[in-house]
């Protein structure tokens, strides 16, 4: 028997604020999914921080093919980020400590958004702040910008903290910041959850209750690599966030826990390298997926995943990807 499907898990609204974004797959089967009021032509997006502001990878494929583009995390004021080394490879994964380097919300709107507006692909803007008012301000300015289709709050970044407050690991602080941002925006609001918590289902529930339209997970898991010769962490920032195939089993488990806990849609990510990996997330309950580290290994990973999903539908004789979302059968 499958997991019981909470009654109103389906999209809150069916009227997209933007014009419909093209048809689903060519394979015949429908790949389009809805994340709150956002209609995606397929469930595959890019993960924040792994796709810049979209320009770099537009040399490799047509961005129109993506379900959505999620851009590098922005703050209201620009950040220069951490010193180097910022990345180190680990078994089947990598640690990064970019330190949220970004050009700031305003420069993004002025310099990068016009480029992204050329495409018929929704743009989801990832953002963060050190304080609640910074979150509010960023959300406000992004909501007024033409061409931002949804915003994703990064409250889970392990590299930057406001004093000792980690927004994404304390339910009370998370409730405050999500509630505050919810009030300032009419855009679909996605809350990106930290995996560095005891009970991710609880955190998702808090996000839902605070007004989030969707949750995305997982952000990176905090890790460290030590340079044995120098007796120092390899990363200048000491610790970094683990991503890539190494974390996938953890991410899939967390998506499943969150699926059992909330009714809002889930965007799943963490170590997705190919269509089969992406399908694991959908089956576990994700409505859409984001592809991160895989872009580095294979710049056309997202496209191959979309094509793989089309093939899967055909092979399994399914007409709609939504049939497999949350279809995990448990027990025996």
């Amino acid at each position: 028997m499958g997991i019981e499907k909470p009654e109103d898990r389906s999209q809150k609204s069916v009227t997209p604020p933007n014009p419909p974004l093209g048809k689903g797959g060519h394979g015949g089967g429908n790949l389009s999914v809805n994340i709150a009021s956002l209609k995606l032509k397929n469930p595959v997006m890019t993960a924040s921080g792994t796709f810049g502001y979209g320009e770099e990878y537009s040399e490799f494929f047509d961005l129109n093919r993506l379900g959505a583009v999620v851009v590098k995390g922005l703050s209201i004021t620009p950040r220069q980020g951490n010193p180097t080394p910022r990345i180190v490879e680990t078994p089947a994964g990598m640690l990064n400590a970019i330190g949220l380097q970004n050009i700031g919300v305003r420069a993004f709107i002025k310099e990068k958004l016009p480029f992204l507006r050329q495409f018929r692909t929704p743009v989801i803007v990832n953002f963060f702040g050190d304080r609640i008012d910074e979150y509010i301000q960023a959300a406000e300015e992004l909501s007024n910008a033409d061409g931002v289709h949804a915003i994703e709050m990064n409250i889970s970044c392990p590299n930057k903290q406001a004093g000792w407050i980690v927004f994404g690991t304390d339910p009370k602080i998370m409730e405050q910041v999500v509630t505050a941002v919810r009030k300032t925006t009419n855009l679909p609001l996605i809350v990106k959850l930290s995996p560095n918590v005891t009970d991710i289902g609880l955190m998702a529930k808090v996000a839902e209750n605070s007004g989030a339209d969707a949750v995305s997970l997982i952000n990176t898991i905090t890790g460290m690599v030590v340079d044995v010769k120098r007796r120092r962490p390899v990363l200048a920032n000491n610790t970094g966030g683990l991503s890539g195939p190494a974390v996938r089993p953890i991410a899939v488990r967390m998506v499943w826990e969150v699926y059992k806990a909330v009714k809002i849609p889930i965007i799943g990510m963490g170590g997705i390298m190919n269509a089969s990996d992406a399908l694991e997330f959908l089956i576990a309950g994700a409505r859409a997926v984001a592809v991160g580290t895989a872009n580095f290994v294979n710049p056309t990973a997202t496209i191959e995943i979309i094509e793989g999903m089309e093939r899967f539908l055909k092979e399994e004789g399914l007409s709609d990807i939504n049939e497999i979302i949350g279809s995990l059968k448990i027990g025996s």
């Binding site: 180097t84 080394p85 910022r86 990345i87 580095f296």
Partner: protein
């Protein structure tokens, strides 16, 4: 012509204990690389190693891409295990390239840095004063070709097993002696380990600008371009993993580089 393509390994030749020459035959049309540009090569089929590794284009001829590499760690070891007939994923050409020197120039190669500079020497034959340094004789890879392409060659090794014993930057300092006034107006192109480049920045900065024929207000007046190395994940400018500190903030080695004007770099 997308920048990512598959390529057939036609040869993966063991040159000596440390170095190999990899010849790739791309399976689709490619963009012609410029000297100083690089490629990201996948070194195996599995997720360990996971990331591609950056390698400078060493030679492009007859539709073959050639890379000269040194076996260092997991990735290069894995690459060295690939054999003719294996197919690998490639991204490139990436990054900027060395600007063309107008006349003679100085080239400084530390170890495997020679891989990046030889295409420049090949394009501007017999116009380079080449300073080539390595740990020892065995590590002076491609020495014959380097010699034949240079106007003059200056060799240094750490152990004196070939050429001068000592630092490559010391022998450059001698060469740039104020009494040989024409030399230090020459542009410098350098590729090698970071400590060498840092040392080079000092040598360059030391030169009294008053001595220069044409002082363009530059620090020391010598035009010097360095090709930098940083850990890379994407190689295309998307991850911000490979930045270097410059006078105008962090810049991406894979995108704004790998070649930088030495004056721009803030050495740490």
């Amino acid at each position: 012509m997308p920048k990512n393509f598959k390529a057939n390994i036609t040869e993966n030749i063991l040159l000596n204990e440390h170095f190999r020459l990899l010849n790739l035959s791309p399976l689709s049309d490619i963009i012609v690389p410029e000297p100083g540009q690089f490629y990201m090569l996948r070194t195996g089929d599995t997720y360990d190693p996971l990331l591609k590794r950056p390698f400078s284009i060493f030679r492009h001829e007859d539709n073959t891409l050639k890379f000269l590499y040194r076996i260092r760690g997991k990735g290069t070891l894995s690459l060295s295990n690939l054999k003719s007939g294996d197919i690998i994923d490639v991204i490139g050409p990436l990054g900027n390239s060395y600007s063309a020197p107008e006349g003679d120039f100085i080239a400084i190669a530390g170890g495997i840095g020679i891989a990046s500079l030889l295409p420049l020497l090949r394009r501007f034959k017999k116009r380079a004063y080449l300073f080539y340094g390595a740990r020892n004789k065995d590590e002076l890879i491609m020495l014959n070709e380097a010699r034949s392409l240079s106007k003059e060659i200056f060799i240094t090794t750490d152990d004196g097993s070939e050429g001068e014993k000592g630092l490559i930057t010391d022998s450059l300092s001698d060469f740039l002696n104020p009494s040989r006034i024409t030399h230090y107006a020459l542009p410098i192109y350098a590729c090698g380990p970071t400590p060498m480049l840092k040392e080079l920045s000092k040598v360059v900065a030391e030169y009294p600008s008053s001595l220069l024929p044409l002082n363009k207000g530059r620090m020391g007046g010598v035009k010097c371009y360095v090709s930098l190395e940083e850990h890379m994940a994407c190689g295309v400018g998307a991850c911000l993993g490979c930045v270097v500190k410059t006078v105008s903030g962090y810049k991406r080695v894979c995108k704004e580089g790998p070649v930088f004007d030495i004056e721009e770099i803030v050495w740490e």
